[in-house]
Amino acid sequence: MSATTRPNTIFKNLNAKVAAIPMIATVLVVFIGCTLWTVVLSFTSSRSLPELTFVGFDQYARLFTTPRWNISAINLGIFGIFTLVFSTVIGFILAALMDQKIRFEGAFRTVFLYPYALSFIVTGLVWQWILTPTFGIQRVVRDLGFETFTFSILNNQRYAIYAIVIAGLWHGTGLVMALMLAGLRGIDEDIWKASRVDGIPIWKTYLFIVIPMMRPVFITTIVLISTGIVRVYDLVVALTGGGPGNASEVPAKYVYEFMFRRANLGQGLAASTIMLTTVLIIVIPWALMEYRGGKQK
């Protein structure tokens, strides 16, 4: 479709192009423009306001020597790994159980999935209440007679991040379950019949036949969860506020704080560029794989 053979190429399909203007503007200005702006300005010494004094990799050098960032990054790793592993495993097991032609499937699904409808702020506040040592689980168990029982992960800098994991799992596992269930329902019934005829135990069928067949579902789920994990912000704000100390800080909070409170935009932008890079590392291989998969079809 070169311009020489179709001189009126711009006007061809004009309505569709006009209709797509918001999308084109969003793509060019926001997704490409803003991202490039952020990456470029992350190499400057911008304070409260953007300025073009380039300082090379200084902001990155500082970033990786700042304990708070390192804690944030490690926390994201802990939160990420636990969330990925547990939500995938629990989500799959629940989906597999739900797929056993059980009664009340609708009721169970409603219960597993409702937290996903709630905001992270609500999720954070509820779990804060349940985990408060003076009133929550610790108190309940102590009242039962176990007076030395201690479960105060919110107040303990070593375990605070796991409180975020617990709340995050409560919020998101239902989603994984729903995705997995859709995947399981997509498996051909004949496979089950065949494995039953061959006398293969159910768990083996799942592990060696069904799960490999559901690879695309698993990958999509993992990519979805991962990008959500990198973004985690509201949940931390509501549940722990990043404390005690800096024990449950996460990168998204670091960015916000440096941009608007510490008057060190360059540092905030460097941190957000690292967040972007992390996401790209997850998404690009997936996108390439999808693309190749699409070609094969």
Partner: protein, 414 residues
Amino acid sequence: MRYSTAFAALAASTILITANNANAADLEVTHWWTAGGEAAAAKVLAESYDKLGGDKWVDGAIAGSGSTATPIIVSRILGGNPMGATQLNTGRDAEDLVKAGLMTDLTEIATKEGWADFIRPSKLFDACKYEGKIYCVPVNIHTEQWMWVNPEAFKAGGVPVPANWQEFVAAGPKLKEKDIIPLATGDAWQVNLIFNDMVSSIGGKDLFLKVYRDKDATAAASPEMTAVFEAYAQARELADPGYVGRSWNEATSLVIGGKASAQIMGDWAQGEFGVAGKIAGKDYDCLLGLGNNPVLNTGGDAFYFPKNENPEVTKAQLKLASMLVSKETQVAFNLAKGSLPIRGDVDLAAANACMKKGIAVLNKLDNVVPSVNQLLSPDSKLEVEDLSKEFFADASMTVEDAQARFVSIIEQAQ
């Protein structure tokens, strides 16, 4: 809550009145004065301003401490949707905004009214100057080097009321035995306040200035500083695990109720004692400089006036600026807030025992230092806060490790 209801009514009536008054401006004022005593002080300002006639104070209180409010305020100014006026801590939080020309220049009115002649200490006023021009109005002097103690709680613990930090530390175990929290504190900035207090109270005035003003890394590595970290480690032991997520006024009410024996907090805590009807010197007492070194810093709050396109708003801004430094406002406001007035020429007969102690130090000037807010950039200041809150939360972090990190923060500080 009483005040807040009155405030809501006030705000509602404001809208009605201004609808008929084309020449007056609604001045939206943002601040984070939301605890009982603070709210009372904000109400004093709002009412006095409205009494001037014409322009109206529209309250834009932001809940939470400065750590929540500052980003919201700054992002609004950066986003070109400025409020009419805003409270910030006197210091360098708005430095870049001033440099970028986003704040109304107050030089003219300041010269006319001769602010420089009566604002004391003059260092406080310096925080508002940039290239010889004036960009903010300090409204009060907050001193942070106080330990508030409840004598009843010490009596219940069977120990004498301490006169200094060392005695307080010694009393700790007995208080704990009686289920009294020796030191009530709260999240992040509150433990950082303890740390900065200790730099001047345990380390002394010279150490404070060397470290924070001169950014002297040798001083930060000195044995004097080690002593500060050791005292801070003791404070870590004296606090209860429930400090996480506690707001400062909750901590104060623990002291008021005798559940805790002491709190290290700025003089605004007095506002809470006042609201609870407690009398200084009788129901509660105060140890200036933790009873060790009576050095006070002169932090506080200041009002900034972001540039506005509407000339009516600019006029209203100047009017508010002038009112904030006036004698009447200074007395009424500071009595409610528990802070000290920025002018030395006002009558503070109503000041209580603790405030008088503060005024005495302040008048002599030898033991007055600028606040950390004035000396360090927001970035460096919060690096110190990151370290101090991490240290406080993590009992396994040693004094040596913490001091090593402190040295590197001071080396790079701006």
